[in-house]
Amino acid sequence: MRRALTAAALALSLAACQGQTSTEPPIVPVRQMHEQPRYDAQEPGGYFPDGRAMRPHVEHTVAREMEVDLTIDTGLEGQARYVDTIPPDVIDGFRGMPALLARGEDRYGIYCVPCHGALGDGAGMVPEVSGVGTIRPPTFHDDRVRRMPDGQVYATIRNGLRNMPAYRHNVPVRDRWAIVGYVRALQLSQMDGR
């Protein structure tokens, strides 16, 4: 009896406790309908050579949720001139400037602050921690950036510039315009009375 109890106690103490980590996949005793014959997002699939079931965007095609207004999408008027101000359509979409700026502040905090810093002076965490002096972004608070047309700021977010990556794949069109609006507000806030 004592031996059996000792053995049981040993077995229990050898088995892991709740909350311990493991690199083995969870054991699922009953697996009915756990894996259904369909592809979930980002599941690997065997049909295409790159192994993705979810297809990346094919160039020169237009997906349903894409922006069709070229000026709003590219920030360009005609072929080569940047628009000077945020298109009124976008502002209407946000139901006015205050909502656009609030959205812009929120999105700026997510996508821009890591490099440009909360004040837009280029003192973000990434240039600092990585210690690569060359990737320190320029400040927004000089005349060059202040005089940029809104469309050019927008196009920089959309297409990237030098070391800055393009953000068109993770920031939707209207959020990019909202960020442009917020950058303008930041510049105004740092104008020291000029």
């Binding site: 709740q18 980002q42 690997p44 790159d50 890591p114 070391n163 993770n170 939707p172």
Partner: protein, 215 residues
């Protein structure tokens, strides 16, 4: 005539004791070891890249939505594409051996084969965007990701766990602007945030019937 030895008089007692002790152990084993808390929590597969949330989300303070950009808009949070990593790593740490698989994926166009950690069965319908716009934070369901070197499951993700919250979501709600904030607590809420939480609670209709989650 005695057929059974006298010692057998103890048989009922021993049996009763055995059933009690054995049954107790069996119950404990089932409840403790067959539960999602034991089976799911703590699963942390070895990923193809030694990517660290503690560095990126914790130390660098990058918001979750920088990488998991779809989380507010779609069912799936999605592991970021190589493009997102290369946005920074085309200039930062370009020679790091730990980033070699990412650069390889960038050049070849083949995806990095991240191993899925959190996964509810296919018969369960789960939608991130609904929960985020209702004001449930990442930390409530995924734990302190900003402290994890390797992502591991922090909550059981079982049906009982979903229902516990759906029956009484109030203590888990927070203002929508705080959903990715890992350190925010309800005690810190300002009056405006309290009002927002009350409005969120009044609007929330988490399903408790089967067809809400098993569609």
């Amino acid at each position: 005539m005695q057929i059974f030895p006298k010692s057998l008089n103890f048989l009922p007692l021993v049996t009763a004791l055995g059933v009690a002790v054995g049954g107790g152990i069996a119950t404990f084993v089932v409840v403790y070891y067959f539960s999602p808390r034991f089976l799911y929590v703590g699963y942390e597969p070895e990923q193809p890249v030694a990517y660290s949330h503690r560095l990126h989300a914790g130390q660098l303070g990058i918001d979750c939505r920088y990488c998991h950009a779809n989380v507010e808009r779609s069912f799936e949070a999605m592991v970021p594409p190589t493009q997102t990593c290369m946005g920074c790593h085309a200039v930062v740490r370009t020679d790091s051996a730990r980033l070699a698989p990412v650069r390889e994926s960038w050049e070849s166009g083949m995806p990095v084969s991240w191993i899925r950690v959190h996964n509810v069965p296919d018969h369960v319908f789960f939608d991130h965007s609904v929960h985020l716009s209702a004001g449930v934070g990442c930390v409530t369901c995924h734990g302190r990701v900003d402290r994890m070197e390797v992502v591991s499951i922090a909550e059981p993700l079982s049906m009982g766990w979903c229902l516990d919250c759906h029956r009484d979501p109030e203590p888990h709600l927070r203002p929508v602007s705080r959903v990715t904030d890992m350190t925010w607590t309800r005690e810190q809420a300002t009056d405006a945030e309290r009002a927002e939480m009350a409005a969120l609670l009044a609007r929330a209709t988490p399903p408790e019937n089967c067809s809400g989650c098993h569609r």
